[in-house]
């Protein structure tokens, strides 16, 4: 295995130091390190070294929708974006609701070798919300599933949600809830407000998210388990989670890059690339989720990378699929929305995009400080450059990025997965 000496990187945005990597681990940090003779040196002057990013919410689409993404292409996109671990959502076809499917996804991830793939198991059989899936079998499988979610659909039945939260206590599992009251969002197309009324698009009211979050926080307080809120998108949700945490109630929450930056007015173009679930919200909501991420109310950024083939977006709004890609732009969007606005430091970003998601998902090899003895999962990032997002340049199979044409700061220069570079000089290594 090649040894690498990364020189002159700013460690999580702080002190400038060298990192010596060998045998998949960080061997030493500091200056004037004693490197082996055949070491490959990477000049990282001006770059920021962050722990490999961890995405708790990725749609890899395999099995079933290999026309949109595969484990191979999705993890390539992850590596390109600086991620070394991704949690693969369960809404595949067949649904990841059995040990067999989660093991398949896990193995495909290992075979691809671009990022560690942690399959998420469905909470209910077929994600239909009526009967618990065999959560224990998935937990005991080779994939060692710890995160369970019916994402795409809400576990709306309160009794079932309660049982799911209780049941996973036996193996330290966490239920990741897609908070969407289904009756309040029938046929919903965009954020409900003044604009949805003008555009004639059925509204997705904030209360449909907030009501489920409030309910589930209370349910979880009652049974003492682990609850995680997926893609929190409204000001009211931030306030509910903040109040809960202040009361000492257990809950973690994520926000997507697109909800940190984009607003509902984009829907006025009727361009379905801006159609996503939960929908883009108002400027006020964007400010609230940024503040929530800054003060720790929202624990992590997760991409909700949702690739779709061209034909599912090149059509009328109501016929189009929900979702946006996000792995390759996440860090740039976070820099733009959170760093350049002085809401977060790079050390905070390391927490929100690596330490905290790894802790929630119990990915032991990931989310570790860049210190001797830690697995060499590292991303080198150049915050000084700018780039214009061109969908065709994506290494994902899909092109549905809402950031097309936008100029965003920063670029991933290198990604290391356990000491092996998956990206070097800004390009995938293979």
């Amino acid at each position: 295995m090649t040894a690498y000496l990364i020189t002159g990187a700013s460690i999580v945005g702080g002190e400038v130091a060298d990192l010596l990597i060998d045998n998949g681990e960080i061997v030493a940090t500091g200056t004037g390190l004693d490197a082996p003779a055949d070491v490959t040196t990477i000049d990282a002057a001006g770059l920021i070294a962050l722990p490999g990013l961890v995405d708790l919410h990725t749609h890899l689409r395999e099995p079933g929708r290999e026309d949109a993404e595969t484990v191979f292409t999705g993890t390539r996109a992850a590596a390109q974006g600086g991620f070394t671990a991704v949690f693969a959502m369960a809404n595949t076809d067949p649904v990841a609701d059995t040990a067999g499917v989660v093991e398949q996804v896990w193995r495909l991830g290992r075979d691809a070798g671009y990022a560690d793939v942690y399959p998420i198991g469905a909470v209910t059989v077929g994600r239909k919300g009526t009967q618990l899936a065999e959560l224990g079998a998935m937990a005991d499988s080779a994939a060692r599933v710890r995160v369970f979610s019916d994402d795409g659909d809400c576990v709306w039945d309160a009794a079932l949600m309660r049982r799911a939260l209780e049941y996973v206590k036996a193996f330290e599992g966490v239920i990741a809830q897609h908070a969407q009251e289904p009756r309040l969002t029938q046929g919903a197309q965009m954020n409900e407000g003044a604009l949805s009324g003008v555009l004639g698009l059925t509204g997705w009211p904030s209360v449909a998210e907030e009501a489920i979050i409030a309910r589930d926080i209370l349910l979880n307080a009652h049974v003492g388990s682990k609850l995680h809120i997926c893609h929190l998108s409204t000001k009211g949700s931030v306030e509910i989670v903040r109040a809960a945490k202040r009361r000492g109630l257990e809950v973690t929450a994520e926000v997507t890059p697109h909800h940190l930056l984009l607003t509902e007015d984009l829907a006025a173009s009727y361009n379905p690339v801006y159609k996503v679930n939960p929908p883009l919200r108002t400027k006020e909501d964007v400010e609230a989720v940024r503040e929530g991420l800054a003060d720790g109310t929202i624990d992590i950024v997760a991409t909700d990378h949702a690739p779709h083939p061209v034909e599912d977006k090149d059509c009328e709004w109501s016929a189009a699929a929900f979702g946006m890609t996000g792995l390759e732009t996440a860090l740039s969007v976070v820099q733009h929305a959170m760093i350049d606005t002085k809401l977060l430091t790079w050390a905070d970003v390391a927490d929100r995009m690596s330490y905290a998601p790894a802790a929630i998902g119990q990915a032991a090899d990931h989310g570790r400080p860049l210190e001797a003895g830690a697995p060499a999962n590292i991303v080198l990032y150049d915050p000084r450059v700018e780039r214009t997002v061109v969908p065709e340049e994506s290494v994902s199979l899909s092109r549905n990025t809402p950031f097309e044409g936008m100029t965003l700061p920063g670029k991933v220069v290198a990604t290391f997965l356990r000491g092996t570079p998956t990206v070097l000089d800004g390009e995938l290594t293979r």
């Binding site: 009324g197 003008v198 004639g200 090149d314 059509c315 009328e316 709004w317 109501s318």
Partner: protein, 312 residues
């Protein structure tokens, strides 16, 4: 004007021009030969993804009286149900050389997409999209009101019914306010959008209080099935509170008129007696619809000489 997608896109001058042109077109109806050569050699496609015989034949009659070649493309359900996509349909129409496409679609924004996607170069007329807009209906309504009431500045127009799901209401509120009218929409709160702060109109839940202050009342079609989604308790209760019957009609000023875009639910939002009364201009709306659509097609398509290529 290249397309007609939203009544809100029309300036006051453009709206007046359409109405004035329609006035000329309407005078044609009284002549023995009802045809003009204005659009000879032009192709107009009626692209209807939803059934609407009355709107389609109105556009068809309008295009034919202007001597355009008319192709009816009934594509009901073809895009939403895994058939041909809207894009492929548009590319087909482009290949056929459609100069104008009249589009009715169940999805809000579909005509907007046709006009902006680069799939085709022809002019697009929105003939009703989802719960968004129906601008030619608003134009024919304004035209009809203008013939009875004169200029609409300061005229008090009341629109009653399922505003939430009504493309007719959206287009009318925008156009009538552009033309200077004072618009009031009346509906149960469940059938109004939750936030109407940007709408150029006032809202009321009380039909009876608005009646004496209305120069025209427009009744919207209300689907009985809405009661299954708890928008109102029953058809009867809806009729009791928001239906226009003889007693309510008696509360209107003497010169006030009654409009309905059709098709009517007689006995639901409007009683048969009102629909067939002398105040009702509902049949006249249909006649005027042809004149308005002639004016729109004429203004969009005559004199244009498109040479641009589609970009996708």
């Amino acid at each position: 004007m290249k397309h007609l997608l939203s009544a809100g896109d029309l300036s006051r001058d453009e709206a007046q021009l359409i109405l004035d042109t329609a006035e000329e077109m309407r005078s044609l109806a009284d002549r023995p030969i009802k045809k003009l050569p204005a659009l000879r050699g032009r192709t107009v496609v009626n692209l209807f993804f939803e059934d609407s015989t009355r709107t389609r034949i109105s556009f068809e009659a309008a295009a034919k009286r202007l001597s355009a070649d008319v192709i009816n493309f009934s594509a009901k359900g073809s895009s939403l149900s895994k058939g041909e996509s809207l894009k492929d349909t548009a590319l087909t129409l482009q290949a056929m050389g459609a100069d104008g496409v009249v589009c009715r679609h169940g999805s809000s924004g579909a005509p907007h997409l046709l006009a902006t996607s680069g799939w085709m170069t022809g002019s697009v007329v929105n003939a009703g999209d989802g719960t968004h807009e129906h601008p030619t209906q608003a134009l024919l309504d304004a035209f009809t009101m203008r013939r009875h009431l004169g200029a609409l500045d300061g005229r008090r127009i009341t629109i009653v019914g399922d505003v939430l799901h009504s493309r007719v209401a959206r287009s009318n509120v925008l156009l009538l306010s552009t033309l200077g009218a004072d618009v009031t929409v009346v509906a149960p709160p469940t059938l109004l959008p939750v936030d109407m702060s940007t709408w150029p109109c006032v809202t009321s839940y009380d039909f009876d209080s608005v009646l004496p202050k209305s120069d025209a009342v427009m009744m919207l079609r209300v689907q009985r099935e809405r009661m299954n989604d708890a928008f109102f308790p029953s058809a009867r209760e809806y009729t009791r509170r928001y239906g226009l019957d003889r007693n309510r009609m008696a509360q209107l000023p003497d010169e006030a008129i009654v409009l309905h875009p059709g098709p009517m639910n007689r006995g639901m939002e409007i009683s048969a007696e009102v629909a067939d009364s002398t105040r009702s201009v509902i049949v006249e709306q249909v006649t005027n619809g042809v004149a308005i659509r002639m004016a729109v097609l004429y203004l969009l398509l005559s004199g244009t000489n498109e040479t641009e290529e589609p970009t996708a």
